[in-house]
């Protein structure tokens, strides 16, 4: 009962390669052409998603704030609900003047957007977009994701320091501190999913969430106690890694002008913007792969929908919740942000780790579920009550003026 649409992309690629092969093209050129087509498709899809996201985010934020978003830009005479806004934005970005401060470090300033965009795009290679649709099926795929993602921190520092601007340096240092702090809960949450699946390969992790318990319940990791906590940890850490609200202090307009992006205008800013959104989609994709079952359908009768539709649908849903969170929560202060990472998320990630291990070794039965729920619930209650008084709004005290 496999929908023919599901195999369509792969069949199309094979047909084209066979066509080229029948013209006598040698095998190694066919390999290169296949790789180029796959890479081009993946990048094209994600850039299209980025363009769509840039306008949909503004519209969703606007609706949350009881107003319309961009709804004018269209095609010739048709308004198309403003969905051609990215085209207008793109033209604006390209035609803006590219200002570089005279005392800025020219080479590093120029290279920072490039170093930011390359890891964001490289990371898309290991996500399983559908059944048998992984561009690169590495057996250490999750490790590759985090190893390549470490390049983003270098780019943020380069951007912050090269601008020769105190606000940029401060913004850059805060951004790196935030990224390093939140990388640990992110990696531990990913390791939890890898540990239970027994493999670091994303396709193996998706396969480990296959099947339906009792005939209709999906066996995704998010539906287990430890998986739910790990998914939330990964989600929060992903928000922080992409510098999205409520963790967007590095880009906070009211505090730091634009942080490490202050001295970037025109196309370089567009590249940073693109890298941030593509990174956000990539980490959403990893969240979907690790916890939400990847390309698997939630119910048995929905298997007819192609697997790549499910994958991108889930990514869009997670991205929608990220925009929702941005519309809802205020920005965190830097010391609150770091304290939250080190004092709450890190112990909770260890608790989820132990809980997952106990769930597996207690036999994955009802007792195991209760045990894992307890192991993850008790630290949550303790940490929650311990920190709830610290972050309460208190009467403001003035230090210097009495």
């Amino acid at each position: 009962m496999i929908n023919p649409l599901e195999r369509a992309p792969i069949e199309l690629l094979h047909w084209f390669l066979n066509l080229l092969g029948s013209f006598g093209v040698p095998q190694w050129i066919l390999t290169v052409v296949s790789a180029v087509i796959i890479i081009g498709t993946v990048i094209g899809v994600f850039l299209g998603l980025f363009a769509l996201m840039s306008v949909m985010e503004r519209k969703i934020l606007a609706r949350a704030q009881n107003r319309y978003g961009p709804n004018r830009v269209g095609f010739f005479r048709w308004r198309l609900c403003g969905l051609f806004q990215p085209v207008a934005d793109g033209i604006k970005m390209i035609t803006k003047e590219d200002l570089v401060p005279r005392t800025a470090d020219q080479v590093v300033h120029f290279l920072a957007p490039v170093v930011m965009l390359i890891p964001a795009l490289m990371v898309l290679a290991i996500l399983p977009y559908g059944r048998d649709m992984v561009p690169a099926d590495l057996n250490a795929g999750i490790l590759y994701f985090f190893a390549v993602g470490a390049g983003t921190e270098v780019a943020v520092f380069m951007a912050g320091w090269a601008s020769n601007n105190k606000y940029s340096v401060l913004g850059g240092m805060r951004a790196i501190a935030q990224m390093i702090s939140y990388e640990i809960p992110l990696v531990i949450a990913a390791i939890i999913a890898a540990m239970v699946s027994g493999s670091l390969s994303p396709s193996a992790i998706v396969a480990a969430q296959g099947g339906f318990a009792w005939g209709f319940l999906p066996q995704w990791f998010v539906l287990t106690p430890w998986g739910f906590v790990a998914c939330l940890l990964f989600y929060i850490a992903a928000l922080a890694e992409s510098n999205r609200s409520p963790f967007d202090l590095p880009e906070g307009e009211s505090e730091l002008v634009a942080g490490h992006l202050t001295e970037y205008s025109g196309f370089k800013y567009a590249i940073f913007f693109m890298a941030e959104y593509v990174g956000m989609f990539a980490v959403c994709g990893l969240l979907v792969t690790l916890f939400l079952g990847g390309w698997q359908a939630p119910l048995p009768f929905l298997v007819v929908v192609p697997t790549w539709c499910w994958f991108f649908g889930k990514i869009c849903f997670v991205a929608f919740t990220m925009v929702w969170v941005r519309a809802t929560l205020p920005r965190l202060r830097i010391d609150h942000m770091l304290a939250f990472a080190w004092k709450f998320l890190l112990p909770m990630s260890f608790a989820a780790f132990i809980s997952a291990a106990c769930w597996h070794y207690a036999g994955r039965g009802p007792l195991a579920w209760l045990l894992s729920l307890a192991i993850v619930g008790v630290p949550y209650l303790i940490l929650g009550t311990a920190f709830s008084n610290r972050f309460a709004v208190s009467r403001r005290t003035y230090q210097f003026s009495e």
Partner: protein
Amino acid sequence: MICDFLKTCCADPMKFIGDWFVLLPAIVLLLAGGAAVVMRNLIHAALCLTLSFIALGIVFIALGAEFVGFVQLLVYVGAVAMLIVFAILLTRPDQLTKSGSAFSGLGPAGGAAVGFVALVALLGFIFTSPLAKKPLPASASAPVADIGQALMGDYVVALLAIGVLLTAALVGAAVIAMEDKQP
């Protein structure tokens, strides 16, 4: 001679690319390492060092040790390079040094001389030792599952010792760098 070189390339393109997959990052590694050593601007030196770490990680991946390559990228580029950069930013050596020079101790000539002597000695050992004359095995693979089994099996004592070491380093570094509490 160039025709012969091109012929060997096109005869087996995959092997040719495979060889240069190792040599090209190795050349970048040497250039970046050399640049990191001689640069006067400290941040440029740190960024060249980061580039050399990335190149070294790619060399590891090209040699078949993918896990080590990814760990190199994750730990060195993501953590050690950022630590060095943070330390440079926090200590702000923009001002001229007391002597005004970036070199001291043995000086640039002395350092280069010692380095050169060490290099000549090492190269002498490398090109005369029978240990280094091994042929290339067809392939070497280290799947992550095997590395995991080895870490938890034969090397578990070392793994636990590394855990203790890293915890001690973490606590120690935090205590050392902590600001003195105001009395």
